[in-house]
């Protein structure tokens, strides 16, 4: 921890002061305001829609944060050679990756905490305006959903580190991260589809099944972290599920960052 902390702190500070962050927050704020307008058009389940919109806004803004602020934090270090000032310290390349990741995780947690606060405020104010349309509402599943969103973003950041460790430019990292995000959210549904193709009347070749299964274990299963539906309808979410998902997120993140460190420790910076 000792060699990681100073780097984590300056990474966090550099990230939190980034101008792009203001833009992202502004967008989120607009979405929260839009929540009011959208809810005004809903006839019955205002509560569900309010939670849907608010949580999706947090998730989307967080995604932008990881893609445009997070990836930049690492990529700029390599592009502009600011990494020299870090590696000239008694900091190994592995330490560098972990310290940077720690700072990024702190940034994500802080940002989602702030966005989440705004989301709760937005839900709360809609509820205040339409109190009778929140028949099945509770705060705790919304908080749990926010927690899993945060974890998902941290995992995605870990993946972006892995890509950055071997990619030659930040653009490649960005593309790879976006692709893994898209695959990560679709892979579970696609796996379910190809495993029982008869049910929907499609035909699937054995190769497709193998490819999809490989993707299922290779890419992060991001849909696990999505309990927005449960939060919107206040449905029970089992502790087994939560524990499993949190453990999965931590394992996957640790794996990505460890691999990133391994690849990175072989790199040179001419």
């Amino acid at each position: 921890m000792r060699p990681l902390w100073p780097l984590a702190v300056i990474t966090f500070k550099e990230g939190i002061r980034n101008r792009a962050l203001y833009g992202i927050f502004l967008l989120a704020l607009l979405l929260f305001v839009a929540n009011f307008l959208i809810c005004g058009m809903i006839m019955q389940e205002v509560g569900k829609v309010a939670v849907d919109v608010a949580l999706s806004a947090v998730s989307f803004s967080g995604l932008l944060l990881v893609l445009f602020v997070g990836i930049n934090l690492l990529a700029k270090d390599l592009d502009r050679r600011t990494i020299y000032m870090v590696l000239a310290r008694p900091i190994s390349r592995r330490h560098y990756i972990w310290g940077k990741f720690l700072g990024m995780a702190m940034l994500i947690v802080t940002a989602t905490a702030m966005l989440g606060g705004c989301a709760l405020l937005s839900i709360g104010s809609v509820r205040w305006a339409f109190p009778s349309y929140f028949p099945r509402f509770a705060w705790s599943p919304v908080l749990l959903a926010l927690m899993l969103i945060t974890l998902m973003l941290v995992l995605l950041a870990g993946m972006s580190f892995l890509f950055a460790s071997f990619a030659t430019s930040s653009f490649v990292t960005l593309i790879l991260t976006v692709v893994s995000y898209l695959i990560g959210h679709g892979v579970a549904a696609i796996k379910a589809l190809v495993e029982s193709p008869a049910a929907v009347g499609i035909e699937v070749s054995a190769t497709t099944v193998r490819v999809v299964k490989a993707a299922y274990y290779l890419f992060p299963n991001l849909s696990l972290f999505d309990i927005k539906v449960q939060a919107a309808h206040n449905l029970p979410v089992s502790w087994t599920y939560l524990a499993g998902t949190v453990a999965y997120g931590l394992f996957y993140t640790a794996l990505s960052v460890t691999l990133a460190g391994l690849v990175f420790s072989r790199r040179e910076f001419p």
Binding site: L193, G201, N221, L224, T240
Partner: protein, 294 residues
């Protein structure tokens, strides 16, 4: 070197942990309850706004969701026990897909094939097909489907004939359409007409599973046609109606009463037509009388 080995061992352990927790969490997720109204699908016009320039892609996505929803419906309950809301969800998704891209043929085709397993959905299917009729103004298949649905499920030979006439005028239409349109002008020969219809549809259906759906119906209709012919023979011979189908067998007009592929039993209705307790659908356990009679 030892450092690298240690890292690789760590990586292997983390990978194993990743897979194990994935199993755990994915298993637990299946037990999570789904909301009752998960069938909510945003209305088409709103989806058009949200989808922006990706309307086509959104349409494809909605259609695939429709496929999945139908798969879930079959998996969870089977077509006879499925709840209305499940059928509605499939319909809404297909409707949304065609709102996003009204030229997209697959949702019409798929909707017509599978939603008809629940006869209550027929008006919905027709609504969907009507939309396609307007946009795909070169396509004779959609009026053909509409014609069949009106003739067979809604007993409206007049409307059916109109649709078929419309279809017959579209490019490359099967000659059968004109013939059928003419035949439907007569109320007679209902079963036979239905068989001709189905054979026409089958000749244009390539997908194996969809063919199966139509083939079962065709098989049932052919059996009914066979029985109706036997009743006719009996009447000419004895000058009266047989009381039940068993009489046909006893008197040697037929060797055996064929089996209903839908799992029901054929019987002779009071008006002299042959019906089945399954009412030629899997829906509602074959007990309701909602399906229109001959």
């Amino acid at each position: 070197m030892r450092r690298l080995l240690a890292t690789l061992v760590l990586v292997a352990a983390l990978a194993a942990g990743q897979v194990a927790t994935l199993w755990w969490a994915a298993g637990a997720r299946q037990d999570l309850p789904l909301p009752e109204d998960h069938s909510y699908v945003l209305p088409g016009p709103l989806l058009r706004v949200v989808a922006g320039e990706f309307r086509g892609l959104a349409a494809d996505f909605c259609f695939l969701q429709g496929l999945t929803a139908y798969g879930k419906l079959l998996e969870s309950a089977g077509p006879s026990q499925a709840r209305d809301s499940d059928w509605q969800r499939v319909y809404r998704l297909l409707d949304a897909a065609t709102d996003l891209d009204p030229y997209f043929f697959d949702p019409y085709y798929f909707g017509n094939a599978v939603l008809s397993r629940n006869p209550e959905m027929i008006p919905r299917i027709n609504q969907l097909l009507e939309k396609g009729l307007e946009w795909r103004d070169w396509d004779w298949l959609l009026p053909f489907y509409l014609g069949f649905n009106h003739f067979y499920y809604l007993q409206d030979s007049g409307r059916a004939s109109e649709y078929l006439m419309l279809g017959a005028q579209r490019p490359d239409a099967m000659p059968l359409l004109a013939t059928l349109a003419a035949r439907l002008a007569y109320q007679e020969n209902r079963t036979e007409n239905a068989i001709v219809f189905l054979r026409g549809i089958l000749s244009r259906t390539e997908d194996e599973r969809t063919r199966e759906l139509y083939q079962v119906r065709l098989e049932a209709l052919e059996k009914i046609h066979y029985l109706e012919q036997a009743v006719l023979v009996y009447r000419q011979h004895y000058g009266e109606m047989p009381g039940t189908l068993n009489v046909l067998q006893e008197r040697g007009v037929i060797s055996a009463i064929p089996e209903d592929p839908y799992g029901g039993t054929f019987y002779l209705d009071a008006d002299g037509s042959v019906k089945s307790t399954s009412e030629l659908t899997y829906a509602k356990g074959g007990t309701s009388n909602e399906i229109p009679a001959n």
